[in-house]
Amino acid sequence: MRDDRKYASLSCVDGFAIHSDLIGTTTPNMRDTLLDALSASASADAVSWLRGQISELSENFEKHPFYYAFSGVSRRFNKATTIQSKNDTIGGWDEFRAARVALLLVLAEKDKDTFLESFSAVLNTADIREQIALFSALRWMPHQKDLVESAVDGLRSNIVDIYDSIALDNPFPQEHFTDEAWTQMVLKAIFISRPLHRIHGIEARRNQALAEAISDLAHERWAAGRVITPEAWRSCIGFIDERIAGDIAKMAESENPDDRAAAALVVAEEESGKLESQETTLADELSKIETGDLSWKSLGQEMEDKIIRKSLT
């Protein structure tokens, strides 16, 4: 039994597309990359307006023109059009997000006080799409330590697209979050069925508290006759105790092939020897891992496809 209410909520914010397999990459010319991508999709007038705003604000930054430009993107660009780019991070963004991030890259060049004052003023008054742009831009922003609290707070949103702009395809949480904040972020991702393979650092930031919380959540769900996303168990590798070993054994015997795939991936990576007894049960899945036919990425993408299909029906 899936949590249908949460799946349904995926479609909530007027039709944002979920794009897969984005990898955060930083280039020194991100502003140009964004402008090039926008030039290919948006009207010449809109792009020329944006270039004009960028050059004006670069030379002579003032708050009000920056606010008007950042918000006013909505008057000139199309939110329903997504941009194409060889850069995996920005490919698939809608025009509003791309244009606003280009403007934030101008703000990023200003002195610390100006930057922090305007960034937080805009964030505190932002509508949904503006918040998405602000959080998507975090990775390229200066003074990141001063922005961590805003990102943690943003994750409290129940709007899936805002949550995604921080948690998915974004290196910021991995680099800056405390273990406590990280654990909350991943737990919420599991809770609302987000694709965990798109969280940067999902392996590197594994910790004991998270592994225990995942087991607790699984037991709660099972008690209610529901399931958790099989990707969740990836965060338990390296923290297998008796209870979690029992959970993996349960998954290994599941009728659901996704559960067995996840159990096999955990067994294949776990070095403590505590799961060796599962190897026979999972022989088929383990051989798929060896031949490269099964990985966390392939499982994650499969789960994501299922979520998307569900949200469209």
């Binding site: 918000s71 008057r75 503006e130 949103s157």
Partner: protein, 301 residues
């Protein structure tokens, strides 16, 4: 028939109202920033109010298939608190160019004090700077003088009359407003402002050009169905369908469309009611309600 009610304060209305409005054909609405019945004392309450206009109220309307826009402004009553007014002037530039913000409003005079004039001018200048329409509230007391004074001030600042919607007109103000090239909006509001029989008489005299009909429904005894009800009365009294559509739909769209933030396509291809959508964890949609009873009495006195 579809309607565009360009003045309605939905934060004060119930979900029953939204259901009846949607059922009666109200496709899009504008919610002007307004005072809340008692004075606000902190700028933070303005910020949260503006956030609700671009956030939760817009979402709530969408739950009923209604496209919600707003105007952002400092109303004249609260303009008399100078310290607060200054802080709101600092806040407004963060909002006025946002998606779905179709103008500065509702602004104008209440007591016609000097302080009210100061902030009317400041906000008119802001509208010029951001190239936005202005939604004008005309005073309840000394209305005719206040309306003329408002137009004089706006022209002095350099605002084009074509970008200004003067609201709450009556038989005494309409001629000069139209003669000077402003949009003339009429609020059909029971008991205190204008009943819809008078509105029909006004249309028979002045036609439909640059005339807008709205409800201004708020926290008082008012009617969120005033626009469709007035359209029904106009039809009964022989106003042409083309003229009815003009004053209840096309004219407000043209006037506020100058913001570049509203166009018919926004609701023509919208997805309809999504009963499962969530905003900050809240769902609102409930079962349907009978519209016939609500529309059966369409005379507003």
């Amino acid at each position: 028939m579809r309607f565009f009610d360009s003045h309605v304060h939905m934060v004060s209305r119930t979900t029953d109202d939204y259901q009846r409005m949607a059922a009666a054909g109200v496709a899009a609405i504008i919610e002007p920033s307004f005072w809340q019945g008692q004075p606000r004392t902190e700028v933070g309450t303005f910020k949260d109010y503006f956030n609700s206009l671009i956030g939760f109220e817009r979402f709530r309307a969408s739950q009923f298939g209604i496209k919600h826009y707003c105007t952002i402004g400092l109303n004249p009553k609260e303009a008399n608190n100078e310290k607060l007014a200054e802080a709101v002037m600092e806040l407004m530039p963060l909002y006025i160019c946002k998606e779905g913000v179709v103008g500065i409003g509702e602004i104008g005079y209440d007591d016609q004090s000097k302080m009210e004039e100061k902030y009317l001018i400041r906000q008119a200048e802001m509208a010029l700077e951001a190239d936005l329409p202005i939604q004008i509230h005309t005073p309840h007391r000394d209305k005719k003088k206040g309306t003329i004074r408002t137009m004089d001030v706006l022209v002095d600042v350099g605002v084009s009359p074509d970008k200004v919607i003067i609201d709450h007109n009556n038989e005494e103000t309409v001629k000069e407003v139209l003669d000077r090239g402003f949009w003339a909006a009429f609020t059909i509001y029971p008991h205190t402002k204008l009943g819809n029989e008078r509105m029909v008489d006004l249309m028979l005299e002045y036609g439909a050009e640059k005339i807008v009909v709205d409800s201004a429904a708020d926290w008082g005894i008012s009617d969120p169905l005033a626009v469709p009800k007035t359209a029904a009365l106009m039809k009964e009294r022989g106003v042409t369908i083309e003229e009815i559509e003009k004053v209840t739909y096309h004219n407000p769209l043209a006037a506020y469309g100058q913001s570049g933030q509203v166009e018919e396509a926004d609701w023509e291809d919208h997805e309809g009611i999504d009963a499962t959508a969530l905003f900050e964890g809240n769902t609102l949609f409930r079962g349907g309600q009978d519209i016939d009873e609500a529309m059966s009495q369409y005379l507003i006195e």
